[in-house]
């Protein structure tokens, strides 16, 4: 269970949670855009902001992985 395995596992678990979260979010967002197409501009903007937040969490795991591998 050396640093290589652990760092890969870190990013894998983080990416799994992130993909689940973004999948839920995008599903709900697209459903809301289908219900009320006039509001799709602001729904799209808010959805993109939320996707960037969740993606950032998966990328924190990437930074930690690089720190583990190269220190």
């Amino acid at each position: 269970m050396g640093p290589l395995t652990m760092s890969g596992l870190t990013l894998a678990i983080a990416a799994f949670g992130c993909a689940l979260g973004i999948g839920f979010l995008a599903g709900k967002g697209l459903e809301a855009m289908g219900r009320q197409p006039e509001a799709s501009g602001s729904i799209r903007t808010a959805m993109l902001v939320a996707i960037a937040f969740i993606e950032a969490i998966a990328l924190y795991a990437l930074v930690i992985e690089i720190l583990i591998l190269y220190k």
Binding site: S42, T45, L48, V49, A52, E55, A56, L59, Y60, L62, V63, I66, Y70
Partner: protein
């Protein structure tokens, strides 16, 4: 299998200023070129403005309208115009830096935590100083306490608010850095896969993959610049507005 050395640039021209090393390397040159491109874009857009706008003028006008109406929508009306140049320059610099880094031979400026950390610290210091300027020092310390809460959970809530406020520049910097760094690393991995295959024919397939990833990187560069500017506008609005 060291991939990090692609992101370290040796200095081309050593300079020293009062003992601080400000030598010029490829990343600094790329940053100057990007800043010059942003300046040239704005100057082209504002030369001889017509009532029916041409392409560049329309581009900048749409950006300004978007920043004014969507990003700064909670701010009091008389302060919106003052923040537009700052946010437009921030968005333009980050977007042009992301795009220029995809040109072969150019340095990836945003893929270094130094640059993104500097931008995040600039936004943080600006928002805190203007919060103190608008509400005074008492109001600044009072902004950590949200309204309408029962007072017995205050010792739990105020440290959470302080930590949230302090973690924001970190998250801004790391979000931008990690997105662009990961994109460039994937492109490098595709290139090294093409070299490892040692054949001209099957080596075309990873190159096709790297072209697709570069196209995706253009989109990601735009989204990350937009997200950085949008979150900076949100933090500034929250710092300056009434609560």
């Amino acid at each position: 299998m060291d991939i990090l050395h692609h992101f370290k640039y040796p200095s081309m021209f050593d300079l020293q200023l009062f003992g601080v090393d400000i030598s010029v390397n490829k990343a600094i040159l790329t940053l100057w070129i990007a800043a010059f491109c942003v300046l040239a874009l704005i100057l082209i857009a504002s030369r001889k403005p017509k009532f029916v706008p041409g392409f560049f003028q329309n581009l900048i006008e749409v950006s300004i309208d978007f920043i004014k109406n969507e990003m700064l929508f909670d701010m009091p009306e008389n302060q919106k115009n003052a923040w537009i140049p700052f946010l437009l320059a921030l968005f333009g610099l980050i977007f042009i830096c992301n795009i220029i880094s995809l040109v072969p031979g150019a340095a990836a400026v945003t893929a270094s935590l130094n640059f993104t950390g500097t931008l995040a610290v600039i936004v943080f210091i600006t928002s805190q100083i203007f919060s103190i300027k608008t509400h005074g020092v008492r109001g600044y310390f009072g902004s950590f306490v949200p309204r309408d809460i029962p007072p017995f959970i205050l010792p739990l809530l105020v440290p959470i608010e302080v930590i949230t406020r302090l973690a924001r520049p970190f998250s801004l910097a790391i979000r931008l850095f990690a997105n662009i760094f990961a994109g460039h690393t994937i492109i490098l991995v595709f290139f090294s896969l093409a070299i490892m295959l040692k054949s001209y024919f099957t080596g075309m397939i990873p190159l096709l993959g790297s072209v697709l990833i570069s196209a995706f990187e253009i989109f990601i560069g735009f989204i990350q610049a937009f997200i950085f500017t949008y979150l900076s506008a949100m933090y500034i609005t929250e710092a300056v507005g009434e609560h």
